[in-house]
């Protein structure tokens, strides 16, 4: 990859159309349309975000609930097309957001590893080759041939994590440094995640754990109401964000 950054956002905005009072059925919509009643509220989740992340960089993102962090992650991951501006990413993208979407409860662990991996864009043949190792890592080898609807939520989380982490992406999007399972597994998954983040990919790390973020990130941004408030050194950005949060404890900069 030449000079192109792995992630480039130029003037990116994402607006949702909120049909709060609007119809949610086709029949109602048709009726409203004849009365010329169809109205949407616009909800701008992200406004004019311009940023670049190069291979080997870890961009930390802080901000309160509803600041646009999730929308930013989904826009970079290519899940949500921006309504303004442009998102360009180079290379294989792995988004560790809400893991486990795409599991089929009636299928076995073995089948789900291949299925989930395929949905994440990895060749099924590769997944079949990696299957045993993934299962061993998730400590689920003995449950591989059981339908996963019998799994506990902890087992599901471990399986989803083990599949997602078995990857070498060029662009990595991480929502919280996940703490999964018991203490021992949690330490192991944290280490694995750190290794993946330091593996040379362009990383976007979103976290409420400010010290952990400041320690890992090479650069940070602070999002508020969809705008980039501050960009720069992670320690400076997290401190500024923490200070603002103390000033306005009831405001929407308040982190959960």
């Amino acid at each position: 990859m030449s000079d192109e950054p792995a992630i480039r956002l130029t003037g990116v905005g994402v607006g949702y159309r909120l049909a709060r009072h609007g119809p949610s059925s086709l029949k109602a919509f048709a009726v409203e349309l004849t009365r010329r009643h169809v109205r949407y509220e616009r909800l701008q989740a992200l406004t004019d975000v311009t940023l670049e992340v190069r291979a080997g960089e870890i961009l930390g993102v802080v901000g309160g609930n509803g600041a646009g962090k999730s929308t930013l992650m989904k826009a970079i991951a290519g899940i949500l097309p921006p309504t303004q501006g442009r998102v360009v990413t180079h290379g294989h993208v792995a988004a560790m957001i809400e893991l486990g979407a795409g599991f089929s409860p009636d299928l076995t662990g073995r089948e789900n590893i291949v299925l989930y991996g395929a949905l994440l864009g990895r060749p099924p043949a590769l997944m079949r080759a990696r299957l045993e190792e993934i299962a061993a890592w998730a400590e689920l080898t003995e449950f591989l041939d059981v339908p996963i609807r019998t799994y506990s939520s902890g087992m599901l989380a471990r399986l989803a994590f083990a599949i997602s982490i078995d990857d070498s992406p060029d662009v990595l999007i991480v929502d919280e440094i996940l703490a999964i399972g018991d203490a021992e597994f949690s330490v192991r998954s944290g280490e694995r995640m750190d290794a993946l983040m330091r593996g040379g990919a362009a990383v976007v790390l979103v976290s409420h754990d400010l010290p952990a973020l400041a320690e890992r990130a090479t650069r940070a941004i602070w999002l508020q109401r969809g705008h980039v408030m501050l960009e720069g050194d992670p320690v400076a950005v997290t401190e500024a964000y923490a200070a603002a949060r103390h000033v306005a404890p009831g405001g929407e900069v308040n982190a959960s």
Binding site: G15, S25, L26, L80, V87, V88, G102, S104, E111, A118
Partner: protein, 274 residues
């Protein structure tokens, strides 16, 4: 291997480019079709045998209703064979269309968390339905054998008819899929429309009971051409009316092109309306 590039500002790809991209994803599609079929039959005790038994039982019901209760005189072939071939093909169309239209809605949760082209689920639905239809041909062949109807030498060509009909259903479903995400009740309306289309085609009645002055309505219906060709090839004597072939090919092509265009135009907006 080239580096995959995602550019949100890239224009929507053409039908051909999308077709090629879908072909490259065939290993993912194979996994999804296997999942669709597995999920459909895994819960039953009989497992895979259900794929065979299910159409067999359906056939038994149809046979009961249409050979004992209703009766139409059909020239040349026992009524059971006539009705079964029509109904099975029409059911395939119905299930493919409804399945494709619902595919984005059913995977809405996944589509908001993982980057996959929504069309992948539409294509895999078609695949699963075609395989299921293949299984229903077994009881159809059985009924034909019992009724003493010899298959035509041209019978293998029915595959082409089924594929064209599936392409027609796929195109229509593709256009509707983003609309169903926004308005789930579209599916109910669609189910009613499909039933209506079914009654307007000679699926379980012979085509000539329709009065002459309404025949043109029947002939406008692509299902009519598909069903007629299917029967002709299965147990008839010729290769089917060239005009029916033309009508079916044109319907499939138009549905695919229009469906693709509408799908691309509406897809982006489907998930940003809350």
């Amino acid at each position: 291997m080239s580096v995959p590039i995602y550019d949100s500002a890239a224009p929507s790809p053409s039908v051909l480019r999308d077709a090629r991209a879908t072909w490259r994803k065939r290993s993912l599609l194979r996994v999804l079709v296997a999942r669709d079929l597995a999920v459909r039959y895994k819960r039953s005790v009989l497992g895979v045998w259900w794929t065979l038994l299910n159409p067999l039982l359906e056939t038994a019901v149809l046979w009961m209703v249409f050979s004992q209760v209703f009766r139409f005189a059909v020239p040349g072939v026992p009524y059971v064979v006539f009705v079964l071939s029509g109904v099975l093909l029409f059911n395939c169309f119905r299930q493919t269309l409804l399945g494709v239209a619902a595919s984005m809605f059913l995977h809405a949760d996944l589509l908001s968390k993982v980057r996959v082209a929504p069309a992948v689920f539409s294509v895999s639905t078609v695949g699963a339905n075609l395989i299921t239809f293949g299984f229903t041909l077994v009881p159809l062949a059985l009924v034909m054998a019992i009724s003493g109807v010899a298959p035509s030498p041209a019978a293998p060509l029915v595959i082409v008819v089924v594929l064209l009909l599936a392409a027609f259903a796929f195109g229509l479903g593709l256009a509707l899929a983003p609309i169903v995400v926004r308005f789930p009740d579209t599916l109910d309306l669609l189910a009613i429309c499909v039933t209506m289309i079914g009654y307007l085609a000679p699926v379980f009645y012979p085509p000539d009971i329709v009065p002459q002055r309404f025949q043109w309505i029947v002939h406008l219906n692509p299902i009519y051409h598909a069903v007629t060709l299917f029967r002709e090839l299965l147990y008839g004597h010729g290769l089917g009316d060239p005009l029916s072939w033309l009508a079916l090919v044109v319907s499939a092509a138009v549905a695919l092109l229009v469906g693709h265009a509408v799908h691309n135009a509406l897809r982006r907006g489907a998930f940003t309306v809350l």
